[in-house]
């Protein structure tokens, strides 16, 4: 009896100290791995969308002519019921497209205020050597801009949740106003809650 009581006390002490260990377990993951922790929009969804859009754009006649057209990203509207940083999707696409060397991107849509401020500073402050000061009127005009939308349909019945995402991207020729390329990526995810637990 004494031995059992002793063992129980040791076991309780182990649980007590284990409970006090408040540091979470952290490990680095591989960003290339497929992620399916929840049915919410995740890193794999972002990568799948970027992969499809970049492959489609690189294969489109717009980027196959040999000329390096100038793009800018207008916006991707988030029409889903969750917070999605759509900028991270377009950033991923922009990086990959730029690395292909077949397209250029204008920063005007995103940092135009800073560009104007810098041009003003360089030309009027008197601080910058006039020989190296950049003057206004030399920006390269964009040929195309991208706009798109991500939407979702979420349904749940019992322990099963079904989520459908649809990402659409369009490329508009600024000169003609025509949509010269468009593509979409559909993603469907199903989540089953366990019988026990949350």
């Amino acid at each position: 009896m004494k031995r059992i009581t002793g063992s129980l006390l040791v076991l309780m002490a182990v649980f007590f100290f284990a409970g006090c260990a408040s540091a979470p377990q952290v490990s680095y993951g591989n960003p290339e791995q497929v992620e399916t922790v929840t049915s919410d929009f995740g890193s794999t969804d972002l990568q799948m969308i970027a992969e499809k859009m970049v492959n489609s754009l690189l294969a489109s006649p717009v980027l196959s002519s040999g000329a390096r057209p100038v793009f800018y990203v207008h916006r991707v509207r988030n029409m889903t019921d969750e917070h999605i940083d759509t900028r991270s999707i377009t950033d991923k696409m922009r990086v990959t497209l730029l690395k292909s060397g077949r397209v250029r991107f204008s920063a005007v849509g995103e940092v135009n205020d800073e560009i104007l401020k810098q041009l003003e500073y360089q030309s009027r402050s008197g601080v910058v050597d006039p020989a190296t000061a950049r003057s206004a009127g030399s920006q390269v005009g964009a040929d195309y801009f991208m706009f798109g939308e991500i939407s979702s349909i979420r349904k749940a019945a019992g322990r099963v949740e079904d989520v459908y995402f649809k990402f659409t991207l369009n490329l508009v020729n600024i000169k003609t106003g025509l949509i010269e390329w468009a593509d979409e990526k559909e993603i469907r995810k199903e989540a089953k809650r366990p019988l026990m637990g949350s």
């Binding site: 993951g29 290339e32 497929v34 399916t36 799948m48 992969e51 970049v54 690189l58 002519s65 690395k99």
Partner: protein, 143 residues
């Protein structure tokens, strides 16, 4: 067979089933002019019984400075196949040039065949690897 041995065998089988297996790889040397060589490396025999690599097609783009490729994959099994795939592109020196290298989940119904496409990331692309593997757990760390 004793009970102990049976348990041991079961444990070995379970471990074998859970252990990560290297992907099956299709090595392709290609340019906008077409396919020059193709080689298959089977690391996962179980997966190879279900998914087989089919025809590889190369389509030159625009002025022929780039290309779009398609690899046909067929599910020859009697069950639906859930797997992951990825394309990795290389230049003539063998350096990896891909900017998107993530694994992509895919599905093929029994007997179904589908083409998986990728576009060369740049004009210096001289070949690619198309890799398929079983669905992996999400908690893997490191590469």
């Amino acid at each position: 067979m004793t009970r102990g041995k049976r348990v041991l065998w079961l444990a070995v089988l379970l471990l074998a089933a859970c252990a990560g297996t290297a992907p099956n790889v299709l090595y392709v040397q290609a340019g906008p002019g077409g396919l020059s060589s193709k080689q298959v490396e089977i690391n996962d025999k179980w997966l190879a019984r279900t998914l087989s690599f089919g025809e590889v097609t190369v389509r030159p783009l625009g002025l022929g400075s780039s290309m779009e490729v398609q690899v046909a994959v067929q599910n020859t099994g009697s069950r639906n196949a859930y797997f992951e795939y990825r394309f990795l592109w290389y230049d003539a020196a063998g350096s990896e040039t891909s900017t998107i290298t993530n694994w992509i989940p895919a599905y093929l119904g029994s007997g179904e065949s589908r083409g998986f496409k990728s576009t060369a990331p740049g004009p210096d692309a001289a070949g690619f690897r198309f890799m398929v593997r079983k669905q992996q757990a999400v908690t893997h760390t490191g590469s």
